[in-house]
Symmetry: C2
Subunit: 275 residues, 2 copies
Amino acid sequence: MTNEQLFDHIVRKRSFLCVGLDTDVRKLPACLSSHPDAMFEFNRRIVDATAPYAVCYKPNLAFYEEHGAAGLDCFERTCRYIREHYPDQFIIADAKRGDIGNTSAMYARAFFEQGTVDAVTLSPYMGRDTVAPFLAYEGRWAVILALTSNASAADFETLTLSDGRMLYERVLETASGWGTERNTMFVVGATQARELERVRRIVPGHFLLVPGVGAQGGSLSEVARCGMNDRCGLLVNSSRGIIYADSSERFAEAAAEAAARVAAEMDALLSARGL
Amino acid sequence: MTNEQLFDHIVRKRSFLCVGLDTDVRKLPACLSSHPDAMFEFNRRIVDATAPYAVCYKPNLAFYEEHGAAGLDCFERTCRYIREHYPDQFIIADAKRGDIGNTSAMYARAFFEQGTVDAVTLSPYMGRDTVAPFLAYEGRWAVILALTSNASAADFETLTLSDGRMLYERVLETASGWGTERNTMFVVGATQARELERVRRIVPGHFLLVPGVGAQGGSLSEVARCGMNDRCGLLVNSSRGIIYADSSERFAEAAAEAAARVAAEMDALLSARGL
């Protein structure tokens, strides 16, 4: 998917919501406990319920790999289901991979040739070699970690370099030169909305994937104020706040309602920006 | 496995060789081309042939995930095969994972509870949150990327911080405080053997996983001179130089010969150190 297609989808849907499919079998609603394919069934019903309000789905691989080959199969079927039934949805494999050279190329093949996702999250630690193979696929994206929303982001990401900038700023500056605004996004945590202003000075045009709104405590209006550009430029993720909105039989309806509430706020924020 | 058990194994085997099971189906010997389970069969025969000369196996997940659920199943069966037939071998899942909090805990469960590996490679970019869940398992290890052997390691790993040190040195210093010498190793690339001296000043007692000897060009004697400590403290990996030593029907014998040559050199280096 191109950045123009993604932007068109956002404007049409009046939403820049990414639903995180962090599907933890320990948190599935009781009504699915005896379902033979509970994890996939949960995902399917969440996707069907939330698709009108979202432009993106982001399954986190950890939740699937926990179940070995069967879990990976569920991940793949979930992606195929979304691609087939909601072809305009952007799909991000939240894998945070970070290997090099022929190994990185192997991961790129796994996700982009065997799999059906639009984008993969990547760790920048080992440098360009990690990301380059993912940039060779037309219409596919590398989503590079810059500033994350966890407490220990301060261990390394915000260390000050000898030139006075912080490590994540250098990551943005260097890594934005590897690809283009058509194939590279950055992860910027929403618990640090003011940092988004610094980020926008370095990468004014790139899409940013913003986790940490909702359960992790970021404010959507702050994120939009500091991070939105004239092509929106934001995908804001919510996982637990939507997919676990309710644990009863009406979990899917509750997820839809939670997603609709976020989307309504996003609609207003887009309108305020004239989008 | 404890560090004492690993050290005992090294001294008994006269080897600190780690064989990288980077099994690329495009490079399998022709004699396996019609085998219904070629990837696993290749691994099984390589392991059987090289086990007398190695103390560690390191399958890189990328090569397995390329084949989706079936590939992950092959990875799991390979680990179980090693665990069952060669219980004193150390197994490292080269996954370079790097997520946080409950997601990182999920990965730890996937590898240490569902799986049978001793250790997992991790990227430090997001800080302590990435590594902590892996340190909660007695006898299991986090193997943290510090200085890697690829060209673009210079993009970020060797950036100078405001205190004059390089990023990877700060990673060593900070991350060595998260766990102990009994549950934490570091990856240090062998193409930069002189850097090993700097590394040893920061983490004198930790085991180091050293890739890049062989096909990537590092010198084993240089690595031992700069990196060996009085408990050996080294696992030196070779992948392509061993597993693809020959593409004929005698691929496994050739792998054994290549591993034996490396082990002979390691024996001499251990003896020179009085181990």
